[in-house]
């Protein structure tokens, strides 16, 4: 019997490590510990994240036949004994929750949560490195590129650029006798996206294998993974994976005896969203400030150390082994005409079942959010979904039937981006969302080009004054004008897409902007300066609100409804926070 504890970052944060420790302790009591976590016939292992983060920690029990016998969810340390004793049936995953997974089609996440990411043997047992062997022993680099072309694989990092095209350009680039580089962009910077982290934590070898295949295709012998420093677990697991792959001879010199050398090293980023942009990433790899450079020349011609360089995203690489092993056509069987394969989305926000979701491209948004994600938390109304992070936009509920593919999503004004889907309900203020993203881009702008550096700041200031109730007639138009010019005039993708969250919210929620500016009212009752608090008849006179009010604005007799002196109220919300009876009304 095998017991597997899901230990991605979400799982760990939910207490998975404690659960594992509790299980280990109990097992040790029973049968004595063995160094590799094997306890008298029961092995205790860890895996990455299976994806249903909202149920963490997850503990899977496999029978001796290797099949999954039971999946326990919300398996905290206190329940470890019950799990071992078989008295934790209440923790067994419900059919409904199981459907979260069964409705997906998993290519990228094929191993996530199932294999131990720290054991190359498990990856190999699941068919790992077969694609690399196939590529090196049976295919020319051109054939590899052709296969990727047939698959129709497009960059999963955001722009959706055809992968084969980049590989082909890098392959044909003149390295002038010098090196070529294969770079993995694992600087997952979009706030609200965590697909790459999960892949790196749950199935690091898939990325290594994809990189090696790509390296072979373009003629590179050196790979670099640029990974966020905020992902310590991912870095650890990558380090382990690289060491094991080298030991196994699937990385390093003379791979599979074919004479092909390919090594991979890790570079930890240091916290700069803009380094997701290729040229900025390269500057950062070179130890410089991560400021984008003008293109052309493109990295395929002059990249890392001015040598031909190809950069792909984690998820893109993770798809490659499947494409090579199963053939491009098998991959292209999923998705739409122009957007092939599957895409991993990170469902978060006001969603009932948040987590990682991998679905064929083209599935309607509604199916992802309601079908898989279970709809909105706490029975609130679905308002919008934000896709593509700071470069993307907000898609309103009315467009919930939009298929998730590159073209359709772009048409809405948002982008597929790296796959973050932040779901919003009626309590989310759309002007504030725009402000939030502009605050982000303003901080993350590298400061080089003026449209981005000053323009995003000015847009932010306008949005700030709108949310503070100081919006002026003409502000919406000024935002639109600035947005257009920043898109047109910025140096890199960060600036060129920074206005998108503003433009889409204006496009779909112009009424909310107008409500703020002209009525001095926040439609979602969110913006502090524009809300008023009132106490309803539901008040029982417990006095808690009055006691917690910092300005003494609330008065009333014990056991009688209280009232708020609006002149004294500073809108801190402490009354609402402290009211146990829901008697404080925010308007």
């Amino acid at each position: 019997m095998r017991i597997v504890v899901g230990e991605g970052s979400c799982g760990v944060a939910s207490g998975a490590k404690k659960t594992e420790a509790a299980l280990a302790a109990l097992l040790a009591e029973r049968g004595g510990a063995a160094g590799d976590g094997s306890y008298s016939g029961i092995t205790l292992e860890k895996a990455g994240c299976v994806g249903n983060c909202y149920l963490e920690p997850v503990v899977d029990v496999y029978g001796d036949d290797g099949g999954l016998a039971a999946r326990y969810v919300r398996a905290t340390e206190e329940r470890a004994a019950d799990i071992l004793a078989g008295t934790a049936d209440d923790l067994l995953i419900s059919d409904e929750d199981a459907a979260f997974l069964s409705q997906q089609r998993r290519i990228v996440l094929r191993n996530a949560g199932l294999i131990n990411p720290e054991k190359i043997e498990e990856y190999i047992a699941a068919g790992g490195y077969e694609a690399l062997r196939k590529a090196l022993t049976q295919m020319t680099p051109e054939e590899v590129i052709e296969e990727v072309k047939v698959a129709g694989l497009r960059g999963r990092g955001g722009a959706g650029f055809p992968t084969w095209f980049k590989w082909d350009a890098a392959r044909n680039a003149d390295a002038g006798g010098g090196a070529k580089y294969m770079v993995c962009n694992a600087d997952e910077g979009d706030p609200g996206a965590f697909m790459d982290r999960s892949v790196l934590e749950g199935d690091p070898h898939a990325v290594l294998e994809g990189m090696a295949i790509g390296g072979y295709a373009i003629g590179a012998h050196e790979g670099v993974i640029y990974v966020r420093a905020e992902y310590p677990l991912a870095i650890t697991r990558l380090e382990i994976a690289i060491a094991q792959a080298e030991e196994k001879g699937v990385l390093g010199k003379d791979i599979f005896g074919t004479g092909y050398d390919f090594s991979i090293r890790i570079k930890a980023g240091a916290g700069a969203f803009v380094c997701g942009e290729e040229t900025a990433l390269i500057a950062s790899l070179e130890g410089e400030r991560g400021m984008p450079r003008l293109k052309p020349p493109f990295p395929a011609q002059k990249g890392f150390w001015k040598q031909p360089t190809n950069i792909n995203n984690v998820e893109t690489f993770a798809n490659v082994p499947f494409v090579i092993r199963e053939g491009g056509a098998a991959f292209a069987a999923y998705g739409t005409e122009k957007s092939k394969g599957t895409k991993v989305f990170a469902l978060a926000g006001k969603i009932a079942k948040g987590g990682l979701v991998e679905v064929p491209m083209g599935l309607p948004l509604r199916d992802v959010i309601f079908g898989i994600g279970g709809g909105i938390k706490a029975g609130r109304a679905f308002k919008a979904v934000q896709m593509g992070g700071p470069s993307g936009g907000c898609i309103p509920a009315a467009l919930a039937d939009t298929p998730v593919d590159y073209e359709s999503i772009t048409q809405t004004g948002a982008i597929v981006g790296s796959g973050g889907m932040i779901v919003m309900d009626e309590d989310t203020c759309m002007v504030d969302m725009a402000r939030y993203f502009l605050d982000f881009t303003r901080k993350e702008s590298c400061g080089k080009c003026n449209y981005c550096r000053v323009g995003t700041k000015r847009m932010l200031e306008i949005l700030e004054r709108i949310t503070l109730g100081e919006g002026r007639d003409g502000d919406i138009e000024l935002l639109e004008e600035l947005a257009g010019k920043i898109k047109d005039g910025s140096l890199c993708g960060l600036g060129q897409t920074a206005p998108n969250p503003v433009l889409t919210t204006i496009r779909y929620f112009r009424n909310e902007y107008e409500d703020h500016i002209y009525n001095k009212h926040c439609t979602a009752h969110y913006c502090k300066a524009l809300v008023t608090y009132a106490i309803t008849d539901a008040c029982v006179g417990c006095t808690k609100c009055a006691r917690n009010c910092p300005t003494g604005a609330i008065s009333g007799e014990v056991k009688k409804p209280h009232g708020i002196d609006q002149a004294k109220c500073v809108k801190c919300g402490k009354c609402e926070e402290n009211c146990a009876f829901g008697a404080v009304l925010r308007d």
Binding site: C449, Y451, K457, L482
Partner: protein, 839 residues
């Protein structure tokens, strides 16, 4: 190398393949603006000004980095390109802290370069100061005496103790040109009297030698400040000018509206004579107007027939009253009428033993009061409905009037005038007033105190409350304003009649001070000149960046130093005489006063590319007003980032993050004393580790200063007064070592101002080191005969020890061996530079 063909704005040009669109545009002679491009450094692309449209490409592309392709059709002047550039500039300017021009210049309606001439005066350059004034004000001796000097109101020296006496300095320069010497008893000083006569004035720039005759002629109606100044400017442009004046002498209100004791007629005459000497024709006693409407001696149509353009500057010669009963009584006269009569009748009427009331609170009222005093009046009352603090007259006029015995009846307003037995006015009944609530403008408006009046006996009442224009008689078809002034377009100065222009008090109901009329003359002269060439060039006030945050605190640490004393006639003496009250300064006093200037205006004004582009693109950055990345609070002093550097001054608030200094310092000089710090909106350029620049690895080659497109990096000039000046440039070879670096030497007024690296044949800036860049010039002395002299820096050892063995022998030898030199070959630090000289 293969060549390709590119079409830019319709011009075809052939360039080598690999050339950028910017290269191609330059080859085609099409100007593409850029603030971050330098041939010597790697393409950076931060400013985004160089965007253009390429046919077939949906995006705007940056010309500096886009390699031209054969057959490219490029447009640099589409609405989209211009809009993008304009907004870019507006965003930059919305985060730009500084004063392009000092507040004095901005306050002057004519934008006279006050800081410039005050600075030149401080440097002892009287002639050049005068020339600079006359660029904007052709009548400096007159205006220097009578101008209420709005410049001084805004002068920040006033935040220290008292404003720089800009007007007095102007008067000195004007007097100097006329050969007038300061009054003999001017504070008991007897400095060497200037000897240059009026001829000296005519030697000035644009004086006797106007450019080649344009073949065009202009008729100007009115020889007041507008007409005289316009004649001066147009004549300088080569046009034939005739001035038609109804009165027997030139000067207009300067002559007939301002008393002798403030502005002697001789001064006005002398200045007008200077203009006449330039070849301007004057026709006195010639009134323009339709004969049937009241007796003009020449019609406007006749003038239009005789000239290519006609300009109306007839002034505002009608006195208005307050509407009180009895204003039409004999003995009630208009203020300017009174003053004019006094001039024309040479001191008559005789007011001895009489009571005179003057109504009004402006300078004309004060002029009337003080003239009445001088005519012997027993009592002179000034009647004004607010308090002294609200009087529009200059404070000094009020004070001097008071000294001369004028009785101020503030907070009174005439209700009616009553006649005596002889039918003449004999009493004035005044309503007593008090100040009420502040009105919309913030001024407390006077309200009557119910039932409270006061009566005074008067023999004469002078109404100096306002003026109006009498333009009705000029021509029937000339469009007038509702109030009867000439109507014209304020940007083109065009009236309703083709070829007829207008300026000064007579137009658009803007009766104002003389310098305002002179500003009109300056601005309209350009418009008229263009018109004569068949072009249209409306006047547009330049856009400038100003600081509004400067307070007393800004100058806390300044040493207090008041103006040199000005000699004035004692009240007892002046009461009985029309002699000029103010004596005027000596050259030494004027120079000393000039040194008090705080140098508010940007030293980079004449080179700033941001300013240039801002005006080319007609920016309106106010719409993006927001926070500054360098807080003006941090930049509270006028030289914010004092790094203690002997040669270089940083003003972070003016930095536009083009990165040129950082890149040049690294890529050209190999020093990296400056670096980019932080990111996002708050990104800044700072010396390493945010240390003072002097403590960084800076080798003071000055390349950063030469590269900086704005005033963020400036140099300390080797002048006692660091005044922004337009310079004349010449090339020279640096004499410090054998490298033979070519320099561009900038000079002004015979003073060495600065040296910069010259451009090489391929357009790049050449090498320079601390010696070439900062080694020349001597604290204000002339660069005699064009030869460069070595400079010493206050507080620092001299760069050139002089005498004995050549202290730079080692440098020269090394340079010779290298063939050329860049600074890093010579020294690593400034200290080393000095040590190399054996200091």
């Amino acid at each position: 190398m293969a060549s390709i063909n590119v079409t830019i704005d319709g011009k075809q040009v052939s360039v080598n393949s690999g050339a950028t669109l910017l290269d191609a545009a330059r080859a085609a002679g099409v100007d593409i603006p850029t603030l971050c491009y330098d041939e010597r450094t790697e393409i950076y692309g931060s400013c985004g000004l160089c965007v253009v449209e390429v046919e077939g490409n949906p995006k705007l592309v940056k010309a500096c980095s886009t390699v031209a392709a054969d057959g490219n059709v490029v447009h640099t002047d589409t609405a989209r390109v211009i809009e993008s550039r304009k907004t870019m500039l507006e965003l930059l300017l919305s985060n730009h802290v500084g004063d392009c021009r000092p507040p004095c210049v901005q306050a002057c309606p004519a934008h006279t370069d006050c800081q410039g001439y005050v600075g030149l005066m401080a440097l002892g350059k009287t002639r050049e100061a005068l020339e600079l004034i006359k660029e904007k004000i052709p009548l400096p001796a007159s205006i220097g005496r009578v101008c209420p000097h709005p410049c001084e109101q805004e002068c920040r020296r006033g935040l220290v103790e008292e404003p720089v006496a800009i007007a007095y300095i102007k008067r000195f320069c004007g007097d100097w040109a006329l050969g007038l010497q300061p009054g003999a008893d001017a504070g008991g000083r007897q400095d060497a009297a200037p000897t240059n006569g009026i001829a000296a004035d005519n030697e000035c720039r644009g004086g006797l030698q106007p450019p080649a005759d344009s073949g065009k002629s202009v008729g100007i109606v009115g020889a007041g400040p507008y007409g005289l100044s316009l004649a001066y400017f147009l004549r300088r442009m080569g046009h034939a000018v005739t001035v038609y004046e109804a009165m027997p002498h030139a000067g207009g209100m300067l002559r007939y509206g301002i008393p002798e004791y403030r502005l002697p007629k001789a001064v006005v005459d002398a200045e007008a004579a200077g203009i006449e000497a330039m070849g301007v024709t004057f026709r006195y006693g010639t009134k323009v107007g339709a004969p049937e409407a009241g007796g003009g001696t020449v019609t406007l149509d006749e003038l239009r027939g005789a000239h290519d353009a006609v300009c109306l500057g007839i002034g505002a010669w009608v006195s208005t009253g307050t509407g009180a009963d009895g204003e039409d009584l004999p003995g009630v006269v208009g203020g300017i009428d009174f003053l004019r009569e006094v001039v024309q009748a040479d001191g008559i009427p005789d007011f001895r033993g009489k009571n005179v009331a003057v109504v009004g609170g402006g300078n004309t009222a004060m002029d009337a009061c003080r003239t009445a005093v001088r005519l012997g009046a027993e009592n002179v009352y000034n009647i004004y409905r607010r308090t002294k603090a609200e009087m529009p007259a200059d404070l000094i006029e009020i004070e001097e009037a008071e000294e001369e015995g004028v009785v101020f009846k503030n907070l009174t307003n005439p209700i009616r005038y009553e006649a005596g037995a002889d039918g003449r006015v004999c009493r004035a009944v005044l309503q007593v007033m008090e100040l009420g609530e502040p009105d919309a403008s913030g001024r407390r408006s006077p309200v009557p105190v119910e039932g409270k009046t006061e009566t005074i006996d008067v023999d004469t009442v002078i109404l100096a409350v306002g003026q109006a224009v009498d333009a009705a008689g000029i021509a029937a078809d000339l469009e007038l304003t509702r109030k009867g002034g000439v109507a014209y377009d304020s940007a083109t100065f065009r009236t309703s009649l083709p070829g007829v222009f207008c300026g000064g008090d007579c137009g658009n109901d803007k009766i104002s001070i003389a310098v305002e009329a002179i500003a009109d003359a300056k601005h309209s002269s350009g418009v008229i000149d263009a018109f004569l060439r068949g072009e249209d060039a409306p006047y547009r006030a330049p856009y400038i960046v100003e600081r509004t945050d400067v307070t007393e605190r800004t100058f806390e640490d300044r040493e207090r130093e008041c103006r040199p004393p000005m000699g004035v006639l004692a009240p007892d003496v002046r009461k009985g005489s029309f002699d000029e009250v103010v004596a005027g300064w000596t050259e030494a006093d004027a120079a000393k006063e000039g040194a008090r200037c705080l140098e508010c205006g940007c030293g980079d004004f004449f080179e700033c590319r941001l300013y240039r582009y801002a005006n080319e693109y007609d920016v309106k950055p106010e719409r993006f007003a927001g926070a500054y990345s360098v807080s003006p609070d941090d930049a509270a002093t006028l030289n914010p980032s004092d790094d203690g550097h002997p040669f270089i001054v940083r003003e972070e608030g003016k930095c536009i993050l083009c990165g040129l200094c950082v890149r040049v310092c690294e890529e050209v000089c190999g020093v990296s004393a400056l670096g980019l710090v932080g990111r996002g909106f708050d990104t800044a350029v700072k010396p390493e580790m945010e240390k003072p620049l002097a403590e960084s690895g800076c080798v003071a080659c000055g390349q950063c200063v030469a590269a900086c497109p704005t005033g963020a990096l400036q140099e300390r000039l080797p002048l006692a007064k660091s005044v922004p000046l337009e310079t004349e440039k010449r090339e020279a070879v640096c004499e410090f070592c054998g490298a033979g670096c070519r320099l561009v030497i900038e000079e002004c007024a015979g003073l060495f101002v600065k040296a910069n690296p010259a451009r090489t044949e391929d357009g790049r800036l050449g090498p320079i080191c601390v010696l070439g860049k900062f080694g020349y010039g001597t604290g204000g002395a002339e660069s005699a005969g064009g030869r460069l002299v070595l400079r010493s820096v206050a507080g620092m050892p001299p760069l050139h020890g002089g005498g004995g063995a050549d202290p730079l022998a080692a440098v020269k030898a090394k340079a010779a061996s290298l063939g050329s030199v860049s600074f890093e070959d010579a020294f690593r630090t400034i200290g080393e530079a000095y040590r190399a000289q054996g200091v």
